[in-house]
Amino acid sequence: MIEAKHLTKRYGKTVAVDEVSFTVKPGQVTGFLGPNGAGKSTTMRMILGLDAPTSGEVRVDGKAYHQLGDPLRSVGALLDAKAIVGGRSAANHLMWLADSNGIARRRVSEVLDIVGLGDVAGKKVGTFSLGMNQRLGIAGALLGDPETLMFDEPINGLDPEGILWIRNFMKALAAEGRTVFLSSHLMSEMAQTADHLIVIGRGRIIADAGTDEFINRHTAASVRVRAVEQNVLAEALTRRGALIDHGPDGAMAVTGMDSAAIGGVAHTHAVTLIELAPLGSSLEDAYFDLTQHETDYAAAQLVGATQGA
């Protein structure tokens, strides 16, 4: 269980994390979603006591991080898989971690087997691929058999097999009743992995909801409509609360009403329909719409780019 209350981090005049409050509950995978630079990593570092909040507080299992005795037994975290001194073997790297929290050394080979690195336990970490480093980082997080697990962008740089493995692994950890907190800038990935989403943009929480609820709320499908008496229909639909976007090709995208309702309105007003086609709005679009206002560089400034900075 992680609880953040009015958590704020300022660097000079820049506000990296702004009055953020949220709770990460056990037994589910919580996705921490936001564009790069939105404040995800800073928030995670504050949870782990690495960065001091400017104001506000964050607690793990009701305690500030530094109050946890042998913290690796309560919280396992993977922030940056590449942040590791390369001269040690995988097993020796995990061994100092185990020693630091009084964890039995036999646990080292257990976690290496769990993440599938048993065969390369004696190899120097400096020779590892990013995927292997990610697995080693996850092994380190599991070392103390903690109730709370935190992973910062764990699927970055992984191949599809690795992504699938992580996805299933996170779900399995949550199914055991653990608190799993996972950050990503990829909406599609989170939709498949997380049960709950906390969306952050420019240091502020902009959504905190179940994944299904989030999807339903933000992927309101629109209907593409063209009619002979376009303006009459548009006016009639607007009166009934529909939202209308006029496209460049003369068609309009109607949200807030389904095709049947629009057909009914057209019939009532004796409007001749030329085209009536339901359009699915992608979750990725919804996420992009939601975060672009909160992103440092809006899409308009990055012509052709699909992700803000």
Binding site: R45, L48, G49, L50, D51, A52, Y65, H66, L68, D70, P71, L72, V75, A77, D80, K82, A83, I84, V85, G86, G87, R88, S89, N92, M95, W96, L97, D99, S100, N101, G102, I103, A104, R106, R107, E110, D113, I114, V115, G116, L117, G118, D119, V120, G131, M132, R135, G140, L142, G144, D145, E161, G162, L164, W165, F169, A172, L173, A175, E176
Partner: protein
């Protein structure tokens, strides 16, 4: 890497964290010791530092013997066969071994692994104290060995001119042991420098300036202050023939201890108050 078909069933092979009873600082010490001994570069440093120390000491002793007849009576009087034979340890071995202390901190800052360390041990001054303690304890026997071998080799060189000292002579054994103590204290100072500067190159340069460069730069200081320069104090610690302008060996060790303590304390405060 093996296949990705591992299931979560393997998670709880060891029932929830069977605790090993060690006091908190003991755990940090154990972790730092594991870190230090599992790096190949640590052992490479030990071998090279020892070999270079002995070799350089022997070379200085040989050159002293060759120049003996051309030296003044004053130089003959103040000649110290003990400190002369330990020259390699003081000027090279100490530096290389203390640099282990620098790297124990800076290697983690440069890779970012310091975050894992502070996540595992949130009390940061405990981390720094453990690094200092482990490095100091590790380099002591190495430096002592280098001291003893350098001393014996050096005295062998001096035997021809009957200049040799013996471990049984007054103050000689103390000088040999103090040489190793001074190396340990320099290692503590180095951990402090690593914490303050956090970059390997910068912190190592600072270390070399303080120990080796300090002796030359010390010439700029008034005579009374010169003897307190770290490098000069280090030399004084291994000197048997007490000469003016050098601290007494015991005082010199105390001065080095104070430098080490101040630097480590400053680094602790610095590290505790900055974001990692």
């Amino acid at each position: 890497m093996t296949t990705a078909t591992y299931t979560i069933d393997a998670m709880n092979v060891t029932p929830a964290a069977s605790p090993v009873r060690t006091p908190k600082i003991g755990r940090a010490v154990k972790a730092e010791w594991t870190k230090l001994r599992t790096l190949t570069s640590t052992w490479r440093t030990v071998v090279i530092a020892t070999v270079l120390s002995v070799a350089l000491g022997a070379i200085l002793c040989l050159s002293q013997v060759q120049q003996w007849t051309s030296m003044t009576a004053q130089q003959h009087r103040t000649f110290d066969p003990t400190s002369c034979s330990l020259f390699g340890v003081v000027f090279v071995g100490a530096m290389m071994l203390a640099a282990l202390g620098v790297r124990s901190v800076t290697a983690e800052y440069s890779t970012g692994m310091i975050r894992s360390t502070f996540t595992a041990t949130p009390t940061r001054r405990r981390v720094l104290a453990a690094k200092a303690g482990v490095t100091a304890a590790f380099v002591f026997p190495v430096a002592l060995l280098a001291d003893v071998v350098s001393f014996e080799v050096g005295q062998r060189v001096f035997t021809g001119k009957h200049l040799q000292a013996s471990l049984s002579h007054p103050g000689v054994l103390q000088a040999v042991v103090f040489g190793a103590v001074a190396v340990s204290l320099t290692a503590v100072l180095a951990v402090g420098l690593g914490g303050l500067i956090r970059h390997t190159a910068g912190a190592t340069t600072a270390l070399v300036l303080l120990i080796v460069g300090g002796v030359t730069l010390g010439q700029l200081l008034p005579a009374g202050l010169r003897q307190y320069v770290p490098g000069t104090a280090f030399q004084a610690a291994v000197t048997v023939n007490h000469s003016p302008g050098l601290l007494k060996p015991g005082t010199a060790v105390a001065v080095l201890a104070i430098y080490a303590a101040i630097t480590l304390a400053a680094a602790s405060i610095r590290i505790a108050h900055r974001d990692a």
